[in-house]
């Protein structure tokens, strides 16, 4: 055993900061590439696709928060400031790689082609919502796009991603799983089990941590004492990299390399994207209670979308006229889709009891029948379902 050979005779403690992992960065805020920096291979079309998804995400977030404020939506959660991470990682993957995200990764879905209608159907929980109106807004999922339906309990998807990737390895299909989570979620026990199991069982999974400085009101200084999340990988014998999460090129390149390790060598990898949650945690939150505007402003100046735009402009792949047009178009699209989604019928009463099991057991069928009889008696009290109680 190799470890038995390494001996010392003085009781020296390894300090808590023995590893100081640097941040990989490619782009400056003005859009120039740092001299000597390693950039990903991105052609114009893909670059514009990425940018489009980032801008779409920003527009969606702005409009839907406004819709929530107007009372049209019960809840919303923005990803403002983290679009480079959430779009950039998806751009580095094969579209059939599985994504198991936390809840702030609408950018990845947008990149994969989740339509604005699909977003809206989930947000409004109408009859077209894949989730059948069961989960709160922003709990998206798409089987077609290999995007696992979001689940609110934090970190549960992390060991699940290890298992999913193990299945991919056995199937030999050269795909990997990427699981995304916040630095807060990384405190959960499930994180530990997942990384350790993945390392021991050598599964093609990428653990992507969005370290955005906060878990609701809790700053990362009260979340962990070490040098962030990346150094934990060494504790599991796993490779890791830290990347500037506001730099879409760096995120993309780091994830491309991570994917190679995962898919070609069945090596799990931990990637930590350093960013900042510019908006409130969600529409239920008010950050003025726990952080100051100066801090927010510092980060607003590092806007990842602006950074990419500056790069695109420098590449001559973009101009202000197209920018204006894109924004207008997207805003229109979002508003139109919202209107349509809101007008659609609601979910079917029957779907109260489907999907609990593959088939509803007898007791559930009875419960539905009693419920129907009750609604027939008091239709006014159940406006959402009374109309459909006898058909559909």
């Amino acid at each position: 055993m190799d470890i038995q050979e390494r001996v010392t005779h003085t009781p020296d403690f390894t300090p808590g900061n023995a590893l100081q992992i640097p941040i990989y960065r490619v782009l400056q805020q003005d859009g120039s590439v740092i001299p000597g920096a390693v950039v990903p291979d991105l052609d114009e079309a893909q670059a514009l696709k990425i940018y489009h998804a980032m801008v779409f995400t920003r527009v969606l977030d702005e409009r839907m928060l406004a819709a929530q404020r107007q009372g049209r939506l019960s809840f919303y959660l923005q990803s403002t400031g983290e679009e480079a991470t959430t779009v950039g990682f998806a751009a580095a993957l094969d579209d059939a790689d599985m994504i198991m995200a936390q809840y702030r990764e609408q950018g990845a879905l947008a990149y994969r082609g989740f339509t604005v209608e699909e977003f809206m159907n989930q947000l409004f929980g109408n009859d077209q919502d894949y989730g059948k109106g069961r989960q709160m807004p922003i709990h998206y999922g798409s089987r077609e796009l290999h995007y696992m339906t979001i689940s609110s309990p934090l970190a549960t998807q992390i060991p699940q991603a290890a298992g999913y990737a193990y299945g991919q390895k056995l199937a030999g299909n050269k795909h990997c799983t990427v699981t995304v989570f916040g630095e807060g979620a990384a405190s959960e026990g499930d994180f530990h089990g997942a990384l350790n199991m993945a390392a021991v069982l050598k599964v093609p999974v990428i653990f992507l941590c969005r370290n955005n400085g906060y878990a609701i009101s809790t700053p990362s200084s009260e979340q962990f004492a070490g040098d962030g999340i990346a150094p934990r990988a060494v504790g599991y014998g796993m490779q890791s990299i830290r990347v500037d999460g506001n730099d879409v090129l760096a995120v993309c390149k780091a994830m491309q390399e991570a994917r190679k390790l995962a898919v070609e060598q069945n090596e799990p990898v931990l990637v930590e994207a350093m960013s900042y949650r510019l908006a409130a945690h969600s529409s239920s939150d008010d950050p003025s209670g726990y952080r100051n505007k100066a801090e927010e402003d510092k980060w607003r100046a590092k806007d990842p979308i602006l950074r990419m735009k500056n790069w695109l402009l420098a590449q001559n792949w973009w101009d202000e006229a197209r920018e204006k047009q894109l924004l207008e178009e997207l805003r229109k699209q979002v508003l139109a889709a919202m209107k349509l989604a809101q007008q659609r019928p609601t979910v079917r009463l029957e779907d109260l009891i489907t999907d609990v099991y593959d088939e509803p057991p007898a007791l559930l069928r009875q419960q539905l029948e009693s419920l129907k009889a009750h609604i027939r008696k008091y239709p006014a009290a159940y406006p959402k379902s009374a109309g459909g109680v006898d058909h559909g």
Binding site: T218, T346, D351
Partner: protein
């Protein structure tokens, strides 16, 4: 007396508990500067310092493990789990550890000081994971006490009693009525007894039993029933474990009928335990089957939560059915 909502009453109870015993320590996710996502711990860090009121990392099993150790040391931890839906990662520390700490050590060690507070229940458009009522999951665990208050006055008195009770207590707070339930609350320090149900209204024809936010529905249903000439006895169970079978049995012996309601699914819910016990104790007195009006046997839905929940109309129908059996 002061008018308070349920959240204010809880905040007030925590304030009094911390002021009167410097061993009381409040912690959990976001409970520090921010005062908790519902603001139940507002201003406590300001008043009592960061050592006695603080944010923890995001790890429920760690929070309760830490709380168990702190209680074993002789402190009086009041740990918050942000939503009852997120208590399950701590299930082992609660069910295998807190509940069995005293017993397994032959009383050498205990977690007497432990209280776990957590908001529970539906009706807030929370879907699967911001709506659950998990009290029955814990009620199968000897060694725990479980308490659910129905209004501000109860919340303050029961929480103070829970914090000071020499056993680990799970305190479920009805978050739907955190702000909606408002009432007169004595400003001074007082406790209400654990393990005792309260008869809110006497009646002759049927006993209606519930706890927490569901009391509101029960009371509404009772009003509807009274209008139809059915006299209802209304009981708030208050403590789920140990529960006050004597009060319930005495009432059922008088009325001959029992209806129990909770938001959680029917199968394995605590109404089952109550019905099983009461059918045994009151067998010869029962004039109709004990009725349970509960959530459906499904996860908690979102859009159709009104349909899912046992509201006053469902209760009213069940009352009539029981009386006309």
């Amino acid at each position: 007396m002061a008018e308070m909502n349920l959240l204010q009453a809880i905040n007030n109870a925590l304030d009094i508990a911390m002021a009167s015993n410097d061993k009381v320590i409040c912690f959990g996710e976001d409970v520090g500067v921010f005062g908790g996502v519902f603001r139940a711990t507002s201003h406590l860090q300001e008043k009592y310092g960061r050592a006695r009121c603080f944010n923890t990392p995001l790890v429920e099993q760690g929070i309760i493990g830490f709380a168990n150790g702190l209680a074993a040391q002789g402190s009086v931890p009041v740990a918050e789990i942000q939503f009852a839906d997120y208590i399950f990662p701590a299930f082992d520390q609660i069910v295998n550890e807190a509940a069995k700490f005293r017993y397994r050590s032959g009383n050498l060690f205990d977690v007497a000081g432990l209280t776990i507070r957590t908001p529970y229940g539906g009706g807030i458009a929370g879907g699967l994971y911001h709506s659950q009522s998990p009290e029955a999951y814990f009620a199968h665990t000897p060694g725990l006490k479980i308490v659910v208050p129905r209004n501000p006055h109860q919340a303050k008195g029961l929480l103070l009693a829970s914090i000071r009770d020499p056993n680990p207590v799970l305190f479920f707070e009805p978050k739907r009525i955190y702000r909606a339930s408002v009432g007169e609350v004595p400003e001074e320090d007082y406790e209400l007894p654990l393990g005792q149900a309260e008869v809110l209204k006497e009646g002759a024809d049927i006993t209606l039993l519930a706890w927490g936010a569901q009391m509101e529905q029960i009371e509404k249903a009772a009003e509807l029933a009274e209008k139809e000439g059915i006299s209802c006895e209304v009981i708030d169970l208050r403590s789920i474990l140990p529960w006050d079978a004597d009060t319930v049995a005495a009432s059922v012996m008088k009325t001959g009928r029992l209806l129990i309601s909770h938001e959680a699914p029917l199968t394995g819910g605590f109404a089952g335990e109550i019905a099983a016990t009461i059918q045994e104790r009151c067998f010869l007195y029962l004039e109709s089957p004990i009725s349970r009006v509960t959530g459906l046997d499904t996860p908690f839905p979102l859009v159709l939560e009104k349909e899912y929940l046992p509201d006053h109309l469902k209760l009213f129908e069940a009352i009539k059915q029981s009386v006309n059996f």
